[in-house]
């Protein structure tokens, strides 16, 4: 049967009517707003620690790995997803959206006294460093897993946000691993949670064969109090690392909050310096503002706009011009003599900061290597 005319076509077309329905399937999109109920989420550590609390109706996971840390969670603390080095993580919500973050981080092979850590925490809330003798007066005795430990309370003003903040932290050492228990957040909230934090520390126990973080023995402690995390490797070009030639003797370590990269350089007699690489959108607050922030870190007064050119030198780089600042003073965290060398590189829509800071002698030794490093960067 050949269909040569429209009249004959009309008869057969009815058999092909379903075809237009295909087009109607187009854009079977999810609704714009969806509502549903889901079981509470489990993290890998939670799934390991509490296999019976998987989604309701979920069969038991027999043969699950042994729990990493055991504790009694205070009622108003919420379990938070674990990130990086944390063996336990909680969020505490207060009034008016105030928050506190609680972490338990094991660091194997970490030796030495608590002084460096305490001074680092004090710096985070804008307090000056203390000496070993003063440290003893700050320690409050607590109990962690049946062992005596010291609790340190640091209350001050967060230099980054200008808000009143408090850090409660306790360190205990066990089987060659240093355990850091820390609560960070709004001053009033953390202070109010202190009794709950002490009870939590008392309830902690370490099962046999507890999993430990894998870090080199000389690795500095990692700050577990991040409020923001970097996007993963699948994220956008905003977190791309440039390529560069790292001088020998520089050891790369995790950068922490919003650093593109971080290196530590060791000098003689345990002196050291750190190289931070970061970037900010736009002008990053401007050269003067950043210079004054660094001067503050070295216990120096702010600089006026008119004196800016006296304190910075231009530097020619393959991609354009940069500004170099060389500042000497006293480290606000520990009162030691320190020096800071910074290179500020404006690029299209962003500004890159390269900062070498630490012991004055180490900075002097590494000055040329630092400048060569900056000049080697390819974006």
């Amino acid at each position: 049967m050949n269909l040569l005319s429209f009249s004959q076509w009309r008869l057969s077309c009815t058999r092909w009517a379903p075809f237009p329905l295909v087009a109607a399937l187009a854009g079977c999109d999810r609704g714009q707003v969806q509502e549903y109920r889901v079981a509470k989420e489990q993290t890998p550590a939670q799934a390991q620690a509490q296999p019976a609390t998987l989604p309701p109706g979920h069969p038991d996971l027999s043969g699950a790995p042994a729990p990493a840390l055991q504790y009694k969670r205070p009622a108003d603390w919420q379990e938070a997803p674990l990130s990086q080095m944390r063996a336990a993580s909680f969020r505490v919500a207060g009034k008016d959206g105030k928050q506190a973050d609680v972490s338990a981080i094991p660091l194997p092979g970490l030796k030495g006294s608590d002084l460096d850590n305490v001074n680092r925490w004090r710096g985070q809330v804008g307090l000056p460093g203390v000496s070993e003798a003063e440290l003893a007066t700050l320690a409050q005795p607590v109990e962690i897993a049946g062992q005596s430990a010291s609790l340190y309370e640091q209350a001050g003003t967060n230099p980054a946000s200008g808000e009143k903040s408090c850090i409660l932290a306790a360190i205990t050492r066990r089987d060659g691993t240093a355990w850091f228990f820390k609560m960070t957040g709004d001053d009033a909230l953390v202070t109010g949670q202190k009794p709950a934090f002490i009870e939590f520390l008392k309830s902690v126990s370490f099962p046999a064969g507890v999993a430990q973080a894998q870090l080199p023995p000389s690795h500095p402690p990692i700050d577990g109090g991040s409020m923001m995390a970097q996007a993963g490797t699948a994220a956008s070009s905003g977190q791309l690392k440039p390529s560069w030639d790292v001088p020998s003797g520089w050891k790369e370590i995790p950068g922490g909050q919003f650093l593109v990269a971080k290196f530590v350089v060791a000098g003689a007699d345990s002196a050291q310096a750190a190289v931070n690489v970061s970037k900010s959108p736009g002008d990053g607050g401007g050269l003067l503002a950043n210079l004054n922030r660094w001067r503050n870190q070295l216990s120096l007064g702010p600089l006026a706009e008119a004196d800016l050119n006296k304190e910075t030198q231009p530097l020619d780089l393959p991609g354009g011009k940069a500004s170099v600042a060389d500042i000497s003073g006293q480290d606000a965290r520990n009162g030691q003599k320190a020096r800071l060398l910074a290179v500020v590189i404006p690029r299209s829509g962003e500004t890159w900061f390269y900062k070498l800071m630490g012991d004055a002698q180490v900075v002097e030794q590494e000055r040329d290597a630092f400048l060569r490093f900056v000049q080697s960067v390819k974006y």
């Binding site: 075809f19 187009a26 889901v38 979920h58 938070a80 928050q99 230099p159 970097q230 607050g285």
Partner: protein, 386 residues
């Protein structure tokens, strides 16, 4: 000029071989042009603008107007499909010598239809699991959703998920969907969130939560295949009693931001869009084997535990290269892994018309064989009887 005459001309147009040739030529040009456009637009944007469209528009840079300049993939493919079907109907005759041709053409129609259905209905997502972790959802990385989660109940969370389309249009949601109104003040399709220096001139991104200590900057759309846009938004929450402030939500912010209102606790998170399933998958072990003495990968495999409480199903499955898991209308492929070899990334594909390319290839192949065999046998028979 009668209606029948006009419609006959229309039928002649849609059944002509000339139309087929023109469509194929346009398709060639479209594929070339769309491939070149990927360089500036990136794969996904080029696909949407050139191939998943009826018309391709152009406008001068900076101008707000655009005009159609070329037919898009749906247009050319649609006309080709109509041409194929119409010509088959018009020229159809039930003869043994034409069966092969009929099969070939039906196979081509099935191929075109199947690809159209794949384009309209298929969904791709990823499932990223660490060893020991179980999940009952996969994530669409290139599409985000703002999740407003009521976490008050100890057993379950009530989630209101607002699509990226609503955020991009800067609309409001609720009340009705939410017990308060979430008003999108700003949306950044691609962004960077950074710590705000204490003495920064730029104001903080928001008045509440993490945004008080952050600044957000809009970035240009990413075209590099190895990276993707990371969206952020500033949302104001309004209740009958007043505003709960503005909140910065971003895929850069790992932990949900919490607040309480009316004795209920909520969490806000901008996250990749989730597709929940009635079963869970737990990663038992990921293996990355290399050839001995080398760094050359030999095998990537994920041993998973598939569990479906409603059917009491519980079984281990090994997913490895070229050996996906097909379950529940979805296919799980071994796609990637974490650098420490303790996590796996599975690509999850939902494609109801996945069989059509196979069926159409079989139809076309068999049709060709039948057609050639018919002619060959006919010729051989004629020679014998001659």
């Amino acid at each position: 000029m009668s209606l029948d005459y006009l419609l006959d001309r229309l039928i002649s147009f849609f059944t002509s071989l000339r139309l087929t040739v023109v469509c194929l030529a346009l398709a060639l040009v479209l594929v070339f042009w769309g491939t070149i456009a990927q360089v500036d637009l990136g794969l996904y944007k080029a696909q949407n603008e050139y191939f998943r469209s009826f018309l391709i528009y152009w406008g001068p840079k900076g101008a707000s107007w655009r005009i159609p300049v070329f037919p898009g993939g749906y247009f050319i493919g649609g006309v080709l499909l109509i041409n194929l079907i119409a010509s088959q109907i018009r020229r159809f005759s039930f003869a043994a010598s034409k069966i092969g041709l009929w099969m070939v053409h039906v196979g081509l129609i099935l191929l075109l239809l199947g690809q159209l259905l794949t384009d309209l209905l298929s969904r791709e997502s990823t499932l990223h699991l660490r060893e020991g972790e179980a999940r009952n959802y996969s994530e669409v990385e290139r599409e985000a959703e703002l999740a407003v989660i009521d976490t008050t109940d100890p057993d379950a969370d009530k989630v209101v998920a607002i699509s990226q389309g609503v955020l991009a249009a800067q609309k409001s949601v609720g009340p009705g969907d939410l017990p308060f109104t979430a008003r999108v003040k700003r949306f950044f399709a691609n962004s960077q969130v950074a710590d705000r220096p204490a003495d920064a001139a730029l104001p903080p991104a928001a008045t509440q939560g993490t945004g008080r200590r952050a600044i957000v900057n809009e970035l240009p759309h990413v075209t590099d295949m190895d990276h993707r846009d990371v969206p952020s938004a500033v949302v104001e929450l309004e209740t009958p009693q007043g505003s709960l402030g503005t909140w910065l939500v971003s895929e850069y912010i790992d932990d949900p931001q919490t607040f309480t209102w009316n004795n209920r606790t909520y969490a806000l998170a901008l996250r990749p869009l989730r597709n929940y399933k009635p079963y869970s998958i737990q990663l038992l072990k990921f293996r990355h084997d290399v050839y001995p003495g080398t760094d050359i990968p030999k095998n990537f495999s994920s041993r998973i535990l598939l569990q479906r409480p409603q059917t009491r199903e519980k079984r281990e499955v090994l997913i490895y290269m070229n050996n996906p898991l097909r379950y529940g209308g979805e296919t799980y492929y071994q796609s990637g892994f974490d650098p420490d070899n303790r996590g796996t990334i599975l690509q999850v594909v939902h494609n109801p018309s996945w069989l059509t390319p196979y069926l159409s290839c079989v139809l076309v192949g068999v049709g060709l064989v039948v057609q050639f065999a018919t002619h060959l046998l006919g010729f051989a028979f004629k020679r014998r009887t001659a």
